[in-house]
């Protein structure tokens, strides 16, 4: 807003007029060098190795991989009906989980950011953060204990006559769905909260003063303005969910198994690194693909909605 802020980053001019003082002029990007080297060594190269393995094959029962003959056959195997079904199942669980998280988190974040008195916000935010700070695995085990057929939840439901017979939810896809929604809920609440908190209450007032109902205010003001938070939340939930390994292992049993476990099995018992690598690459592509598609759809819908519903108000400030 001031000229100072608007000026782009420059090296301080004072240094140029210093007489002959030996100044160590380090190249600008030096600070980024350590992390770049680190990532190159421990992320890019290993991942490149994985991609390299995915073009190989398994030469014999007792050898893990070989790359003397390159082919795309492992990708064909990974996309075979048996394994492809797991990709589809994982995608289903991930998409359903993300949507459910959004549905549960939005009213919660709205309540926290808009309806709650400011003095309570810190406390409630801390309460949301505490489960997030608890160990992921331990939280999931908490559900495993609760949902066992001989557990207290099952016994309570039976006593209340809500189910006939012990609870048979554990070790099914439903349990995994519940588990992932639970585990990633804070990751959806937090960005939504931040976005909604930045919402100016005056805008909501203005909307009401102009005769808008609660629904109108919600759909035309609140939701569009919280869009960046929604996008952040969707990404933060969907991406790790697709690769989740722990929740299906703890809650899924045989069914509800997801791609993460499939990839792990290739490395941990089947010793078929080529196939495992191909599956891993396909998983990454699936994540990117879905994010890109959804991102594109949201962007288009956003533009369309804005075009349809926006008003150009006369503005006194420079845009």
């Amino acid at each position: 807003m001031t000229a100072l802020e608007a000026r782009p980053a420059q090296r301080p001019s004072a240094a140029d007029t210093q007489p002959s003082r030996r100044r160590l002029r380090l190249p600008g990007g030096l600070g980024a060098l350590p992390i770049s080297v680190w990532m190159l060594l421990f992320f890019i190269l290993p991942f490149g190795l994985v991609v390299w393995y995915s073009f190989g094959y398994k030469p014999g029962i007792y050898v893990t991989h070989a790359n003397d003959i390159l082919s795309m056959d492992r990708y064909g195997e990974a996309a075979s009906p048996a394994f492809f079904a797991i990709f589809v199942r994982t995608l289903k669980i991930a998409v359903t989980g993300t949507v459910l998280c959004l549905a549960i988190a939005f009213p919660m974040a709205y309540w926290m950011a808009v309806k709650l008195a400011p003095k309570w916000r810190g406390v409630v935010l801390a309460l949301v953060l505490i489960p997030y700070w608890t160990n992921f695995l331990v939280r999931t085990i908490g559900w495993q204990i609760s949902l066992t057929p001989q557990g207290f939840v099952s016994k309570t439901l039976q006593w209340a006559n809500l189910t006939d017979g012990p609870l048979h939810v554990l070790y099914t896809s439903a349990a995994v769905q519940l588990g992932v929604v639970y585990n990633y809920l804070p990751l959806m609440i937090l960005p939504l909260y931040v976005a909604l908190e930045r919402l100016d209450p005056k805008l909501l007032e203005a909307s009401r003063d102009l005769g808008g109902t609660a629904w109108n205010t919600l759909w035309h003001i609140t939701v569009p303005l919280s869009a960046p938070g929604v996008t952040a939340g969707l990404l933060l939930v969907f991406v790790p969910l697709m690769g989740d390994y722990i929740t299906p292992t703890v809650l899924g049993g045989a069914s509800g198994s997801m791609v993460g476990q499939m990839v792990a099995a290739q490395f941990q018992s089947a010793q078929n690194w080529a196939l495992g690598a191909a599956m891993a690459v396909l998983l990454m592509l699936a994540i990117f693909g879905t994010s890109a598609v959804v991102g594109g759809v949201l962007k288009v819908t956003g533009r369309v909605t804005t075009a349809m519903t926006s008003l150009k108000l006369p503005s006194k400030e420079p845009s």
Binding site: T64, F83, T148, S173, G253, S255, F267, A270, Q271
Partner: protein
Amino acid sequence: MNQPQHIRVLVPEALKNSLTRRTFLGGTAALGAAAFLAACSKPSGGGGSSSDGLNIYTWGEYDDPAVLTDFTSAKGPKITLDSYGSNPEMIAKLSAAKGTTGYDICVPTHSSVQQMATGGLLTELDLAKLPNMKNLTAKVVNTPFDPGNKYSVCKDWGSTGYVYDTTVIKRELTSWVDFLDAAQKEASGSFSLLEDQSEVAYTYFWANGIDENTTDPGHIAAYRSFILDKIAPHVQAFESSTNASISSSARTLIHCWNGDARLGILANAEPDRYKWVWPSEGANLWQDNWAIVKGAPHEDAAYEFINYVLDPAVSLKELLYIGYNTGIEGIEEAARKADIKRPDLVFITDDIMKKLVYSQMNSADGTIIGIYDELKAAAGK
């Protein structure tokens, strides 16, 4: 960002900041000191090359905890246990890490010993350091799968069968045919298979009168279509360490090994609820062995431990806990004298022994493992 904030920042912040910066640095230092102290207070903590430790990579719940603590008090090294559910899992871990796993002892089943030896995963044993080997019966030493005990020493041997919940399954099950049948009917959605690729295959082969070590592609294809079409939708879990499920009555039908069944049944609040079955057609016979991993950081401790458990008194303690025959000469009489519970699950009678067959590693293994992966992918859909 509004105007007043900038001005506020400029003025006395410089003073306030240096104080709080010091607090921040102090806080980090305190945290670092705490972690450092924590590390120092545990002499064997942190580093991978502690001189007084022993890392054992074994099956789940496969040793009496009392025996392990007794070893530590008698000889010194503290023992850490890590577990796996199947031989391929153990082999995969050891071969992927090429000697850097940090494990000293592993427990391969007899059928894997040669493969592991050829793959350079096991150290050749110096039998002079294992004088207690003389206590083992002739049957379990110098075996066809490891002549001269170059790489392995018998830990125990046993067989495979299953348990079922008699309160849910009212009829009597006696064979593998019954097992596969109940899996599709009363126990659907509530039964588990061992995490072992070959064991799962053997249930089909035995039920259909096929040699468990078959390499006939026709048999294997038949197994594949059966297991994927008929059994996969009913599986609830793949589990090798089954005693917890048995003791908590978690499932109706559980594919398991005899010692685990005994542990589970004895720990169950209703000991008669689960019935163990020695299947009538016969079953797999296996021997688990102690072996020393190549690149073991504590080889001497490993030899000491193996020698320690081959002592008849210690071996008896192990047997009374894990419920598997440890192969020591005269162990059966000693166990019965010690009033062992459920000896019928530990000591296999001759008429059952006649029907048991040692598993072998053969050319069909790769296919069997592949079918198992497909089973896991298709399970419980």
